[in-house]
C-alpha cells in the first residue's frame, strides 16, 4: 500500500508545480480568464451545485482550458438551480439555469469553445422569485 499523503508531500509537489506555473503566468489577471461562478447556497447545494462545480473544474482542467471557477451565494433563481454565471473575457456575463453535468458539457463545448449561446439562459432583466 502507498504511503498516506501528508503536508510534507505537498511541499514537494508545490515545487514541481511552481516551475510549470511560471509558463502560464500570463493568465494571472482574472480579467483575461473565463470566469464561472456557481451559485452555492442551500438551494444550489440541494440541487447538486457541488457536482456541477466539480464537473467544470475537472473537465476544463482535462481539456486544458484555463478558467477561474468560484462559488457564489444565492442569485435568487432558486427554482432553476444549479445556476452558474459565465463570463467570457470581453463580453457580458450570462446566467444559465438548471446546469447539470450534461448541460455543463454543452456549455463547455458550445459557449466556452465556440462562443455560441446555449439554451437555458436566464435573461438579465428577469425577475427573481420575490418580485
Amino acid at each position: 500500500m502507498n504511503k498516506i499523503k501528508s503536508l510534507a508531500d505537498l511541499k514537494k509537489l508545490k515545487e514541481e508545480v511552481q516551475s510549470k506555473i511560471k509558463l502560464r503566468e500570463k493568465g494571472d489577471n482574472p480579467d483575461n480568464l473565463i470566469q464561472i461562478k456557481v451559485s452555492m447556497a442551500t438551494c444550489g447545494i440541494a440541487s447538486g451545485a457541488k457536482d456541477t462545480m466539480n464537473y467544470f473544474i475537472e473537465e476544463l482542467d482535462h481539456q486544458g482550458i484555463d478558467a477561474l471557477i468560484t462559488q457564489t451565494g444565492c442569485m435568487g433563481f432558486c427554482y432553476a438551480e444549479p445556476t452558474i454565471e459565465l463570463t467570457i473575457p470581453g463580453s457580458q456575463p450570462v446566467i444559465y439555469g438548471e446546469v447539470d453535468k450534461a448541460k455543463a458539457q454543452e456549455i463547455i463545448d458550445k459557449h466556452i469553445k465556440l462562443n455560441e449561446l446555449v439554451d437555458g439562459i436566464i435573461p438579465v432583466n428577469y425577475k427573481t422569485i420575490d418580485e
Partner: protein
Amino acid sequence: MNELALHILDIAQNSIRAHAGLIEIFITEHPASNKYQIEIKDDGKGMNPQQVEQASNPFFTSRTKRKVGLGLPLLKHNAELAEGSFHLHSEENKGTQLKVNFGFHHIDRPVLGDMAGTLLILAANEKQTDIRYVHKTPKGEFEFNTREVKNELDGMPLSTPEIRKFLNEMIRENLEQIQISE
C-alpha cells in the same frame, strides 16, 4: 440534502458571510455511545438573541434575495429524524457555535459523503476565511488546517489544479484510515 458534507458546506458558508476569520469544524464519532457529533464554530460577527431564536425558522433569513432560509432548519430536521439534537449559540461580535448530534446507528443518519470536496470548496473561498477540520473516530484522528496548507504553498492558490487534486487525495486517504464504516 442526503450527505452531512453538503450540510457542512451549506452551514459554513453562513460563517463566511458573517466575515469569520477562522471556521472550525469538529466531527466526533462515538459508536459505543451511539453518538455522531458535529460542531461548527466561527469567529464571525455573530447574531443577536432574536436572530438565534429565529434561525431555525425556515421563513426567516438575513438575506434580501429571497424570503426563506432553509439551511439550518433542514439540518435540524435531519438531526431530529435521527434521534439527535441541535444547539445554536451565538454572541454578537464574538461568533457562532453550532452543535448537532445524530444517533450514530440510527438508520436515518445521513452518511458523511464527500467531505474532501466540501473542504476544498470552502478552502478556496474568496474572503480568505481559514478552515480547521478535526475528525475523530475510535480509530484515530485527522486534522486539516488551511493555515498550515497555505503556509506550505507560500502564495500559490489552493485552486491550482495539481494542488487541488493532491489535497483531495490527501483528505480522502486520511479519512479512509480512520473511518469505521460508512
